[in-house]
Structures are given as C-alpha cells and as structure tokens.
Amino acid sequence: MKGNEVIGEAAVYAGCRYFFGYPITPQSELVAYMAKRLPEVGGCFLQAESEISAINMVYGAASAGVRVMTSSSSPGFSLKQEGISYLAGAELPAVIVNIARGGPGLGNIQPSQADYFQVTKGGGHGDYYTPVLAPSSLQEIVSLTREAFRIADEYRTPVILLGDGMLGQMMEPVEFEDEKPLPKVREKKWATTGTKGDGPPKTITSLDLNDTQLEIRNNTLQQKYAAIKEKEVRVDEYLLDDAAYAIVAYGTVARIARTAIDRARKKGIAVGLIRPVSLWPFPATIISEYSSVLKAILTVEMSAGQMIEDVRLAVEGKAPVFFYGRTGGVIPTVDEILQQIDRLTEEVAI
C-alpha cells in the first residue's frame, strides 16, 4: 500500500466513517482510497468544491459527534487554516492530514517539511494549538492515525497528521492487526444531533462577544493545551545512551538520518537520534536533558530551518546547535548528513 492509502485504511480502522476531501498532489491517493473504501463500511465520502468547504464539512460532521477526517497538501492546507481555527475555538474533534510539498506559493509537488511553523504554531488566527503527529514509516502511520483520533476525541481538539510527499507516495508492508482497535466513539453529549430525548438545545460556537467570557473560554483552552503538553509528548530515541552528538530530525528526514547515524557509528562517531514524533507538544524536556551531556546537536530538516527554533529553545544554550536543511523538495542524502556529522565533530573539536 502507498502511504496515502495506509492513512485511509488506518482511519477506517480507527473508526472514522466520514471523509471530506479535495484533490491535490501528493495526497490525492488518500482521497481516492476513501471514495472507494468508506461506502464499503457504511460511511460517507464527499468531494468538496474546495479545501475551505471540505474543512467546514468536517466542522459540520464533527458537530454531529462522529470521527471525521480531511486531508490536503501545503497550499490546500493553508486554505483549511480558517476552519481549523474554528474547530479549535468550538472544541470540535477532527483529524486533518497534511502531506506537505515544496513551497511557498504553488511551490512544487516534491516532499518538504516547510509547513512546520504553520502546523505547530497554531496556523490560523487566535491563541490555539493543534497536536501534531509526524510518522516516519508506513507502519507508524497506522499507530499514529489511531492516536490522532484518540487525542482528538479525548481533548475535543483538531489533530494534525503531518507527512510529506515521500511518505505519502512510498510503499511499505504494514500490519493492521498489531494495532488495538480504538474504542467506539464515546457518547458526545455536546453534539448537535437534535434535542430529542436529551434535554435543552445545545450550541456549538467559537463566538463570545463578552471579553471576560471569551477570556475564560480561552483560559479553558490553554488549560487543555497544558494537559496535552504534559501527557501527549512522543519522542523516539535512537543510540543516545553513549552519544556525544545527536541529530534532531522528524518524519522522512529521520529515516535518512538514522542510516547516516549507523554509518557514522561504524566510523566510531558516537552519534544518536532524537526524533520528535509529536511536533506539538514538542519534546522540549527530553532535548533539554540530553543537551546537558551532548557536545553538539545537529538539526536536519527539509526546510530552511523551522524546527531548529524549537530545538534551540529547548537546548537553552547548553550545547551548540547546528543546522542542515534542503528546501524546494530536495531530499537530503545519507552522504550529505554524514558530511554534516563530520563537520559537527570538527567544529566542536576546534
């Protein structure tokens, strides 16, 4: 299965029965997969007239209390930001997939990690965050898609699943049976399904014209984000026990970095990998702890340097932080990263 199709099947496995999509490369296989798959399981797929409509259909479906998903790629994801802000403000659970591509503007259709700022810093207007999960293999897509729906339901929040064109297009064998099915959707008493049999009318809105009331509402959101930060940090650590150096990388780049690390180890360089799996909440504490014992840290991204800002904030100057990035859809090679590891050891030696 292609990565995009794995997301679709993983969503079905997680109990998602509603999908509102719009074509954009390199995520279109997911839309096509859902169009075929959801009717087979009694769900509903609908192709919207735009990404904007798709995310607002998600808002409507989430209002009715079901597990629902939409997907896009960078330019289309930008169009969804208004809707994501509304979902966050109205506290509606949904999963939004971004199979990112080169930007800015129309950019190209090659893999990129240049949407990091957008997905981890809110993205739309207002004080909000969305949990962001970044798988680096197709098997991990299965477990993180499930997690995305769990987090969305548990905290009543939109959750972003972030991949890139490479992850979406690549093929790998995956096992679904290893994953425990997500429990059925808990009864959502807040859902607007008609009041029949359940008391006074319910309202779903993000509006509060009273400033004090809105501040109370916003503080409640912030408390929720604090709880997510405490409980939902995910990070993958590789060969860090004896490491003098560490690479911080996520998603596709983390796979390449891992191979480079294996080769560096053969050359006798003690380097490991810190792979943030949740980009928000960012694994700042873990990076902070390692930075006290590391000689240097290298951040590798398919961007001009976005996650490195969070890495530097976490490190707080306790170790030098270097950066290597490729942009425009260019994927860094193992050799390039290996060279960077060499550079790291030289720079620190001076």
Binding site: M57, Y59, G60, K196, G197, T203, T205
Partner: protein, 252 residues
C-alpha cells in the same frame, strides 16, 4: 377565554439584539413557528452564519451550530451527511455571507441537491459591520463603501441569487418572498414551511430568499424601510417561485 395568539415555542425567551425596524425578528419567528407546527424542534439542527444573525443560536429553540463566514452550507452538508434522515438541517444566512464570501458553498450545496433548507435574508447591505456594499446592493444605493451610490461601472451589478441557483438542476425549490407587509409575511411563512416539507420528503435542496430591511444602515425609519423594500427592492428582486421540481409521485 380562547387563545388566539401565543408565542411560538420555537424561540427561546432571549430578547433579540436586532435594531428597531429590522425584519430579522419576523423571519426568526416564521422559521420557529414552522418548526413548531411541523413538530420538528427536537429533530432540527440549525446553522447560524456570520452577520447580524450570528447570534441566531440564542434565539432558536433547537440545536444550533455556528459556522464561519459564508461556510454555513458546507457545515450543513457535514451535518446532513452524518445525521439520520429524520433530522432537519437549515442554514440562516444574510446576503453578504451567502452571496459574497459564501457563493461557492451555496452554489455547490444546491448543485449537489443537498437535502437542506436555506433561509437567505437579503437586505441589500452588510448590516453587522456597519452598512457596507453587498453583492445585492442596488444600483445607486449609498453605503459606507459606495458613498456616491453603487455604480455599474465601478462595482458591477447586483446578483439575483434565486434566479441564478434556479438554473442548477440540483435545486428542488427556490422562492423569493418579502416581509414588507402582513400579507407578504404570511406568504413568506407558507414558503418557509414548504421548504422544510420538501426537506422532510427528502426532495433535496431548497432556498427561500426573504427580502428584509435594514433601517439603521439604510438611514430610513422603520416605516420608510418597508416602503423601500416594496418600491426599490421588489422591482429588481421580483417575488415568486423560481424553481419547483415535481414532488415525489408527481413526476408523470
């Protein structure tokens, strides 16, 4: 003593925020009375839009979801595709919301034949933001953003949404009504009821365009406003049924 009139249970006790002379209150009541008469208050989900009617969820006595500007038909589509068929879904949108920023959403909801009811309140102006030009603003009409009056050369011509949507095969029922006198208010109620019945019969998309007043931003008294609807709006926005697909069982 016989009760000849009582407040509809379709509205909450909340006092509306609408200006004197505004007909939103009347249109709210018509929708509420229709839902009460159809015994549908417990099985209806409404979608409030952005504009003066943004707080409609305080007034309608049924489940309500509030949508982003122009997106109510998309939100209603999401609800419709999830909710059981016995549920009724309606949007309540103004002309800035529906005919400008939300044009794509309304056109495609109609084209899909989405089984929803749209209450489209046309007062030829953006009310909530302080009286700017809407796509429905009449030629020569002065607004905050057309201080010299709307000019066809500068701002183009007003859009007749009902006529436009009636060209779409997916639309089942489209009617334009008015609220400028009691006779037309009663006709408006009839149209609104018909549109919910069409939805209940699962016949697809229906929209009732309701000509409405905005005394505050038109700079007219309430009485002058009603006259303005009759003398200025109706000649450009003629009343009537623009689309009526045969009812189920009536095809032959």
């Amino acid at each position: 003593m016989k009760t000849v009139f009582k407040r509809t249970t379709g509205l909450t006790d909340a006092e509306t925020h609408y200006c004197p002379g505004c007909t939103h209150g009347i249109i709210h009541r018509l929708v509420a009375e229709v839902l009460e008469e159809l015994d549908a208050l417990e099985t209806t989900v409404g979608v409030a839009s952005v504009g003066c009617s943004v707080l409609a969820y305080h007034y309608f006595n049924c489940d309500m979801t509030q949508a982003a500007h122009g997106r109510a038909p998309a939100v209603a589509t999401g609800l419709r595709r999830v909710l059981p068929e016995d549920r009724l879904v309606f949007t309540y949108q103004g002309d800035g919301d529906l005919a400008s920023i939300g044009m794509a959403e309304i056109v495609h909801a109609a084209a899909r034949g989405e089984n929803i009811t749209v209450i489209f309140v046309n007062n030829a102006i953006y009310g909530m933001t302080g009286g700017q030009m809407a796509p429905t603003t009449l030629l020569g009409q002065k607004t905050a953003t057309t201080p010299e009056g709307r000019s066809s050369q500068l701002q183009g011509l007003p859009i007749r949404v009902s006529e436009m949507l009636a060209t779409l095969d997916g639309a089942a029922y489209i009617e334009r009504v008015s609220t400028h006198d009691p006779v037309h208010v009663l006709k408006a109620k009839k149209a609104i009821k018909k549109s919910f019945e069409i939805q209940r019969n699962r016949q697809g998309f229906s929209m009732i365009e309701v000509l409405s007043s905005c005394s505050t931003n038109w700079g007219l008294t309430p009485e002058e406003s009603l006259k303005w609807i009759k003398s200025q709006m109706i000649p450009y926005y003629p009343l009537g049924i623009f689309k009526q697909q045969p009812c189920i069982g009536e095809e032959s």
